[in-house]
Point group: C2
Chain length 419, copies 2
């Protein structure tokens, strides 16, 4: 493969052009490629139309070194990606016996046989076959005319799995350098604050390189190294990782972690602890987010969603007079919510959240005012947050949840709970 | 404008090519255009690079009648969309005094002045200006060389608002026909079942036309009419809408409704009723979904997330012996959960959900087995669901929630609660 690795992703499917689905495939692939230093220069979406797809492939041949297609590999007659790509590169499709055998077994097991099923086993002569671990249509890769072509199925789950397991190694294999990347996950500092801390170093660094990325409500710092072997690249990254973590200190909630609740779960497992939630403005979202994780039941006993004031008294024993006196969005109510649920459910930790997620105000507090409390055996911590009066409801609720998980993480790892 | 209305959406932004964000703008615009009968033929994504953007625009001029760009209208130096588009169509940019005045006021009010702010007021001569209701950069539209060009900012909120409020009327204005579309929202029947019911009619219909679309866990039937006026198109749709609704009967949960919880909320408002939730396998997701809706607090008092068995006894008074005897995933436990929370919180309705969302099994029930109960003043209804052993956890949880909202909707509108 040539050194230049300009890439175009062509996604095939009329459903994308009708706006029925969003093109997450192109995003996912772009993200994976950016981590190994392959530059995606174009995304193209085209419908299930042979002539238009052919035109798009010819344009891509002109302007890209690597062409990746998603979609159009299935057994129905609008699935035409392989035919068109083979044609554009002057290759024949031929029946791949191994793939056909696998399909035959799959069909016997699943009891469905369509006359076009074997079309899926027709692949460009000489290609590398990528097995499909989540469906039937295989993908493939080939090199021709100085270009690299990779074809992946469209369903996001199949696309993601095949790209990770087969296409990434295939593309890395073509390259002499190995690229390794790790992400330092940060909560409580924005992208620009992280940028400020490391601006000078980042400008001076080439390999490994370092770049901050904003995520929905936290951010990460990605460190990437290129070397002749994975081991060598890892060795180059290690001291940078250590330096970054020590400089960002308690703001780091994990390395290569998907979300902050996952970091909290790892610590709950390590410390063998349990927790419970009492939620007002987040309305069950914190419980929902944690129980999105398989295995949550080992650590999360349950919780109360106390949306109405009377329910706060009823389920958590908070005196109505106190709510009256202090206001429902207050330090004291959050504290008693966390303590109440911890005591009632008999957990190591209790979370209490009360606030104003908007869009309507309560005439007292600014929208975005949230109190997040963490009750523990030793003491109760309360964070008072002002998350922004003009932020959408969904952001305020998500951010409040992040603070709750972050306080748990800080407590369990022996760090100052309050920032 | 010519009759042909092939459209290309060009999204400009390196962040899309790095996979940091997903291209929801192209999806949202495509969806809106498909409803007024404009065919999107291509999506293209290109980085903040003048030469590559220029090349993409020239390709689009060849193959599309309408070119819509998103992104690259802001005040920073990589925002180059207007310059390049004007250049490709031989137009000058000129300072739009009205826009400049508005920006000046905005800046005075917000206290931020950057030297490039006025760049945002530089617009192609003779264009129609689209005001930005959520940010500073205006969009615009113009006709030249037999093509229509529309430029919209990239941030999804700004894009969506401006496209809805300004670009859609602009594009409709260019067309002699008006297009109106309504969606019949269906729960409990899949896309292919709906397709089966109306297949013959759909094939025979041209204007109005009818098409079913699958959504994440329900589906909708979209009816579209073209006419010389909106009123005429509405008149053409009305009898079809009536026919479809009467044929699908109780499976219809609304017309042009975003989600089933919204349909439930409309009925709660109409009937002035309240509800509460007791959730096990959905882990707070039902409460979370309902409280995602602004104004939820008028109807939702609160709920219990009873993840552990002991918490079901503690918070809802379910006898441990009964859980032992019937199993936690059972008709009886769901029933007592719904009744328990309704009674404790004093609401009109109570929801109880217990099931196995996976991926791990419990050795007794198949993954995807869920019992959803609705307790009312008169009686308690329980649905036993088998949502598919190979479905992801997120699907099973979401689907269970849909059933809960659907049962509430059916009860409040006097329809049979169980399908």
């Amino acid at each position: 493969m040539s050194k230049a690795r300009d890439t175009e992703i062509i996604s095939v499917g009329t459903e994308l052009l009708l706006g029925r689905v969003v093109n997450t495939d192109a995003r996912d692939i772009s993200e994976m490629l950016s981590k190994i230093g392959i530059n995606v220069k174009y995304h193209t979406v085209v419908g299930d139309n042979p002539q238009r797809l052919r035109d798009c492939v010819m344009i891509a041949k002109e302007r890209a070194d690597i062409i990746i297609t998603t979609g159009g590999l299935g057994p129905t007659c609008d699935d035409l990606t392989k035919q068109i790509l083979a044609e554009c590169f002057g290759l024949e499709l031929e029946l791949n016996e191994e793939v056909a055998g696998g399909l035959y077994e799959y069909i016997q097991f699943n009891g469905k046989l369509t006359q076009n099923t074997y079309q899926q086993a027709m692949l460009p002569r000489g290609c590398t076959v990528f097995p499909n671990t989540c469906g039937t249509a295989p993908g493939c890769g080939f090199e021709k005319d100085g270009k690299v072509v990779v074809m992946i199925p469209g369903p996001p789950k199949e696309c993601n799995a095949m790209f990770t397991l087969s296409a990434m190694p295939y593309l890395q294999h073509l390259s002499e350098e190995k690229i390794v990347s790790h992400s330092v996950c940060v909560f409580g500092m924005g992208e620009s604050a992280v940028d400020d801390v490391f601006a000078e170093e980042m400008n001076a660094m080439q390999n490994p390189s370092m770049a901050p990325y904003a995520k929905e409500s936290d951010c990460l710092l990605q460190i990437t190294a290129k070397a002749h072997s994975i081991e060598e690249a890892e060795k180059m990254i290690a001291p940078v990782l250590e330096h970054v973590c020590s400089k960002l200190g308690d703001y780091v909630y994990g390395i290569d972690v998907d979300c902050i609740e996952e970091a909290a779960m790892a610590l709950l497992r390590e410390k063998q602890m349990t927790f419970a939630t009492a939620e007002s403005c987040t309305g069950g979202e914190i419980a929902k987010r944690f129980t999105d994780l398989p295995g949550a039941s080992a650590f999360f006993k349950g919780g109360a969603v106390t949306y109405w004031n009377e329910v706060k008294s009823l389920m958590l024993g908070i005196p109505p007079e106190l709510i009256e006196e202090k206001g429902v969005v207050s330090y004291d109510v959050a504290k008693l919510m966390a303590e109440g649920i911890r005591e009632r459910l008999g957990t190591h930790m209790g979370i209490g959240v009360t606030g104003l997620a908007g869009p309507d105000g309560d005439g007292i507090n600014e929208v975005g005012t949230v109190f997040v409390a963490l009750a523990t055996a030793e003491q109760t911590y309360v964070s008072e947050l002002h998350l922004g009066a003009f932020r959408p409801r969904s952001f305020i609720r998500r951010m409040a949840g992040n603070y709750a998980f972050d306080m748990m993480r800080r407590y369990m790892s022996g760090k100052p709970v309050l920032m």
